[in-house]
Amino acid sequence: MKDIADFQWRLDEAGYVAERSLAATLMLVSRMRRPLLLEGEAGVGKTEIAKALARVFDCPLIRLQCYEGLDVSSAVYEWNYQHQLLTIRLQESEPAPVQEKEQHIFSEAFLLKRPLLKAITQPEPPVLLVDEIDRTDEEFEAYLLELLSDYQISIPEIGTVQATSIPYVVLTSNGTRELSDALRRRCLYHYVDYPSFDKELRIVHKHLPAIGEQLGAEVVAFVQGLRELDLRKRPGIAETLDWAAALLHLGLEGLEQDPARLADSLACLLKTREDRDALSAEQVQRLVAKVR
């Protein structure tokens, strides 16, 4: 238990408010060196967790943002073609044999390291964030699984590159596509939920020390109430912080102070037109009344 509490404290030092249970998971990640799969709705702070880990370990964060059609050349490595072509022209007049020239232009100087290769060739273990892994296709997922078990990358022109350091790997998923069982089993797992009132309040105070006790509590209670409603896009933690900052900037001390300004500032929380239309002025008033 001491280890877990200790890790929680280190996360807190790094500016991330974590529950005990999340701290336990992250402690295991650091000790067991297993990849961590984070699932949960958009806006619950999955990506933030990876950033906090990088701060805790005081190491670089290498991020691979996944998308449909992500391929080896943008995820692992690519040859610097322009540089290679140029070198070939420059070497034209030299008498060296072709084989030697080829070896030269396929040396490491011409290799562009993309996130995955970069992550395993660092002197110190970095945090590798593979964001939204569910957006890639099955082939890439299989490739990643192989990398995560062997920690080596084979480049035909050079040979196999062994990892100089095993990164701390964090994968996030929004559940767009089902991930393979093999990948899931390889990883530790944590389901990230929307924060509780207390946790969110602490986050707000951490990021906006200038905010008053009353306004902070009202903001968080309001957003938590809003999440219960039938919205298309529920506000995440980032939205809470944006909104709190906006209210602070407007000089409000409580939500009841200025209904007109409050209504305007809701743009920070509701990001689609449908949601804005769906939330009537009365509903806002009711939420505000409940908050108090």
Binding site: R20, S21, T25, L28, E92, E102, R184, H190, Y191, R232
Partner: protein
């Protein structure tokens, strides 16, 4: 590690009884369908040591991170942990900071053991009592089968046979679609790396171009099946079709609706068809009569739209368009779907009948917002769908 190493007494305890208990817990999880293998068994002891085995909370969190692999398991874990370690429910709930717990994926899991074994719900495959002329003799049996309107299937045997054919048809579609896609795009993109290598011979001039073969992506398929009473003749067959589709297209989802919308993808993936039936029966319990297509599409848009709909999505709606809700709502939400996807296909089994006109209010409203309006009353008509299911 320090937690147990610091304290020699604890480390000694750890060797015997307690670790046997932990192993027993992983067995229980395996029986509950968690993917726990030999490797996980070994890891469990390691986690138990790291999290301090004598502390129930730490053990809970550690084992949960190790042994769960998806949100569904995450939600069930706490309860199983409590049962096994005889922890009282309320106490732990307050300690676990409410993670999980509150969320439900709405999948009706474990429904099969429940009291509700009512398979013969209206709308979910009670086509057996229907009088009709089955195909007998004449042209080759296969040919006849291919053209038979599903409504004319006379007995159980024919119906079951047709179900199998429909499912197989769906599975075959994928194989053909993949092959066609490979040929279509072969060699359209220059493979720069290989080209550079080839150009060595020509002093760096890229004379000899190499091409990258790129597989065209298969579409994401979303099937919305109307299982209202008016569709009861067909709905079970389409569920089998959907089952074929979701089992081979990895990126496919199926929903059923009449007054409510329910995602059935997981239920359909169940390998045993009888269990599928039971699960579906449980899912549809308590639905009242009537069909509210518009409201169901609205729900679909809200809950799944952002996640499932994109430029390579093809939405297939199977319905006779008999809607008890306002047609304007149906049209609006269908339009909304259509704006986000590659294609909307509406299959209407009635369209295969002689003299049918799409005059029902809902159907008329929908026509303006679909790309393909096609019959789906026989194997042949389903097969004719194939070209519309490609991303082209």
């Amino acid at each position: 590690m320090s937690g147990s190493v610091d304290n020699p007494a604890r480390a000694a305890d750890f060797g015997d009884a307690l670790s046997a208990r932990v192993i027993g817990f992983t067995r229980m999880l395996r029986d509950q369908g968690f993917p726990v293998g030999v490797q996980e068994g070994l890891d469990t002891l390691r986690v138990a040591r790291l999290c301090d085995i004598t502390d129930p909370q730490g053990l809970r969190w550690g084992l949960r991170a190790l042994l769960c692999t998806c949100a569904d398991e995450w939600q069930r874990f706490d309860e199983l942990f409590n049962i096994y370690w005889r922890v009282e429910g309320p106490r732990t709930r307050s300690v676990t900071t409410g993670a999980g717990g509150a969320r439900h994926t709405g999948r009706g899991e474990q429904g099969a053991q429940g009291p509700a074994r009512n398979i013969d719900r209206p709308g979910l495959g009670d086509a057996r009592g229907i009088e009709g002329e089955g195909p007998k003799g004449g042209a080759s049996a296969a040919e006849v089968r291919a053209r038979t309107d599903f409504q004319h299937l006379a007995d159980q045997g024919q119906l079951r046979e047709m179900e199998q054919l429909v499912e197989r048809l769906a599975r075959r579609m994928r194989r053909r679609l993949v092959r066609r896609a490979r040929i279509a795009r072969a060699g359209r993109q220059v493979h720069l790396g290989r080209t550079v290598r080839n150009s060595l011979r020509y002093g760096g001039l890229p004379l000899d171009l190499a091409f990258r073969r790129r597989r065209r992506e298969l579409p994401r398929l979303v099937l919305l099946l109307d299982v209202s009473r008016s569709m009861s003749l067909y709905s079970y067959l389409f569920l089998r079709f959907a089952r074929g589709i979701v089992s081979v297209f990895r990126d496919a989802d199926a929903f059923v609706y009449h007054t409510q919308l329910v995602r059935v993808t997981e239920a359909l993936r169940e390998p045993d068809i009888e269990r599928v039936k039971e699960k579906l029966a449980v899912l549809s319990l308590g639905w009242s009569g009537g069909t509210r297509i518009g409201a169901c599409l609205e729900r679909f848009n809200r809950d799944y739209g952002r996640r499932l709909l994109n430029r390579r999505t093809i939405v297939v709606i199977v319905s006779d368009g008999l809607d008890t809700g306002p047609p304007a709502l149906l049209a609006e939400h269908l339009q909304r779907i259509r704006r986000r996807v590659r294609r909307v296909v509406w299959l209407n089994p009635l369209l295969g009948r002689a003299g049918y006109q799409p005059l029902a209010g809902g159907m008329r409203a929908a026509l303006g917002a679909v790309d393909v309006f096609a019959p789906a009353h026989s194997l042949d008509s389903l097969r004719a769908l194939e070209p519309y299911l490609v991303n082209g």
